[in-house]
Symmetry: C2
Subunit: 381 residues, 2 copies
């Protein structure tokens, strides 16, 4: 058989055809009115997805580059911060901060466990000198969505800023930056923004800008003031990834024409479908508060989880993601993020059932598909 490739991972995600073909057009110069117009339209439209009236800056880097940009522009050596570590990406906040001599109070959570706003209140009481709380909207390693709205309520009453890694979640699950009082929001191009990796986006509230003025950490390429100054001149401080920005315009056209509310609803349906489907064949979710970005599923007792992912990816070319340490071989992750449709979930589930069957897992063949199409059919419009 012809082995077609199905991208079902939580980043990179599939890119719409109109955005793919835009990358095949001849490159134009970035210091021209033609490009400036596209760049400014993208910058404006990103504000819509961010839910902010503040500037949104475009970096040529991975999302981690934008996380680092946040740390080095708002903090100084010895500053005290709280980081929420509920997985690989929450852990990264602590790693970045420590690399710069920031004093980290790291709250290590079990993967998939919630962290409530009441717990945050207690932490802040115990650590009154906290300058920033660094959290994650959607933790990609565990499929968990945290209570950013709650944290925003708490931190609005304090001196500390709320920094949110929205890389995998923003645009797929609600998190309006201004309304929820997020002070720094970070996003990446290869998630709900529906283009290839290579761009990162971020925005600062006025409260965060006050810290920028005080920050003494060294920076050059990631100096946010340079990006702000250049945005005023309708450009970037350094040569940007031109083709990716042009692709972003195409995908933002799709995002805008659908509208954010419909996109959230779309992700909710796909998330609900996936959760119901895996439960229908007796599988359990890792997260107690699963989001609609991806679903992390526990590998059932007696099944080799590494083998499961290997067969899914290698034999069926269904590129779901495996687990990351310490959950490697213990979970697998099906994404329903960005430019994915209902039948992409059906594909993932069919490949999953065929794989589980091969590995000797006992279940009723077709029952996850049945559960999935029931929900899809009810919601299809």
């Amino acid at each position: 058989m012809i082995k077609k490739y199905y991208l079902l991972s939580p980043g990179p995600t599939p890119v719409p055809e109109s955005a793919l073909s835009a990358a095949a057009e001849p490159i134009i110069h970035h210091r021209t009115p033609e490009f400036s117009n596209i760049f400014m339209e993208v910058s404006e439209e990103l504000k819509y997805v961010f839910g902010t009236k503040q500037d949104v800056f475009i970096l040529t880097s991975s999302g981690t580059g934008a996380m680092e940009t946040t740390v080095i522009n708002t903090l100084s050596p010895g500053d005290k911060v709280i980081t929420l570590n509920g997985g690989k990406f929450g852990e990264r906040w602590g790693q970045i901060c420590r690399s710069y001599g920031v004093d980290v109070r790291e709250i290590v959570l079990e993967w998939g466990e919630p962290f409530t706003k009441e717990q945050l209140v207690d932490e802040l009481k115990a650590n009154p000198e906290t300058k920033a709380v660094l959290a994650t909207l959607s933790e990609t390693s565990s499929g968990t969505v945290y209570d950013i709205q709650g944290y925003g309520e708490v931190l609005a009453q304090s001196e500390a800023i709320l920094v949110v890694d929205g890389i995998s979640g923003l645009g797929a699950t609600p998190c309006p930056m201004d309304e929820w009082k997020v002070d720094v929001m970070v996003a990446g191009s290869q998630k709900s923004f529906m283009i290839p990796p290579g761009l990162a986006y971020l925005s600062f509230s006025p409260k965060a800008w006050d810290l920028v003025e005080k920050s003494t950490l060294p920076k050059f390429y990631f100096d946010v003031k340079k990006y702000k100054k250049s945005l005023g001149k309708r450009t970037t401080p350094f040569t940007p990834a031109i083709s990716l920005i042009i692709q972003q315009k195409k995908s933002l056209d799709i995002i805008k024409s659908l509208g954010l509310d419909k996109l959230f609803e779309h992700h909710r349906i796909l998330g609900e479908t996936t959760r119901a489907a895996v439960k229908a064949i007796g599988l359990e979710l890792l997260s107690k508060i699963p989001g609609n970005i991806l679903t992390a599923v526990k590998v059932p007792e007696g099944i080799d989880g590494l083998q499961l992912v290997k067969i899914m990816q290698g034999k069926y070319k269904a590129y779901i993601a495996g687990g990351q340490e310490p959950y490697k071989g213990k979970i697998f992750r099906i994404a329903h993020l960005g430019y994915m449709g209902g039948f992409d979930i059906i594909t993932a589930l069919a490949a999953l059932e065929m794989t589980l069957s091969e590995l000797g897992y006992d279940f009723e063949s077709g029952s996850s598909l049945k559960a999935a199409q029931t929900i899809l059919k009810e919601n299809w419009e």
Copy 2:
């Protein structure tokens, strides 16, 4: 008339059709054997262009990100360095170093003036504690190529490392890293590497790695040890710009099939053609040691240089570059870099003559084209 767009700037440069169309293919995941194979092929083939046996690392950033990576991985606060500032990009070395508390002895050169290896010997005698000399292969703001081979000879006899910004020059003009004893070489994807901007490349000599071990400057995204460790696992530490790396494979196929020597000869012919052509209509070069990457031309007396560039770009869509401060309005720059052919230079010259004629410059119409095609014809094979 239909206004076609002609990219004649020193970055971005035109992208070959095979590399353009590769970007229109569906995105694949970066943690897969399929992508790892492409990534490792690109990493290997970059060594050929660099002229090194050392690892070449791929960053998702502009070239400036790779310049900063060099500084923060080899130096520590208070370290003494010499920077050669013969234009905007040489100046940038000083700006980056100062952002990190490095002690900079900046040699400010007139744009287009040479800096000899004998002068470097004197500078090193006067500054014996110098840890690094940061130079530029091809200074894009002035069209000048410096004597990197000579600097390498000098620095091989000293403790200091030679750091070279090869962003616009590498691959277009000879600079074999190992043979010329360059300790850190930096390059960018949108120049002779013939793909869009968004990737930067760099490589460290064993002498530079010794400094990496001693460097105390903070870093995370640009920590070269992370890239080295990941390369050993056939991957990158952070999600890379997947589509650009796949495009780079296509353009490296072209570069390899031609061979570096033929590419250098190609650029030499285009450079010689451009210089002879502009001289044929009485124009003067800015640089005393012009390279074959781009030609910076003085705007003749009585002609409005800003207007010249505006007409070239706006009316004729011939996207040459203007001058940067303090040469804004005083020079213009025609690139002959990367995937450009002989008739691209003819196009640039025809647009230039039509523009100069409109601005009232006195010259014999067609004489630059005649001079150009004479050289092209002699060398065409």
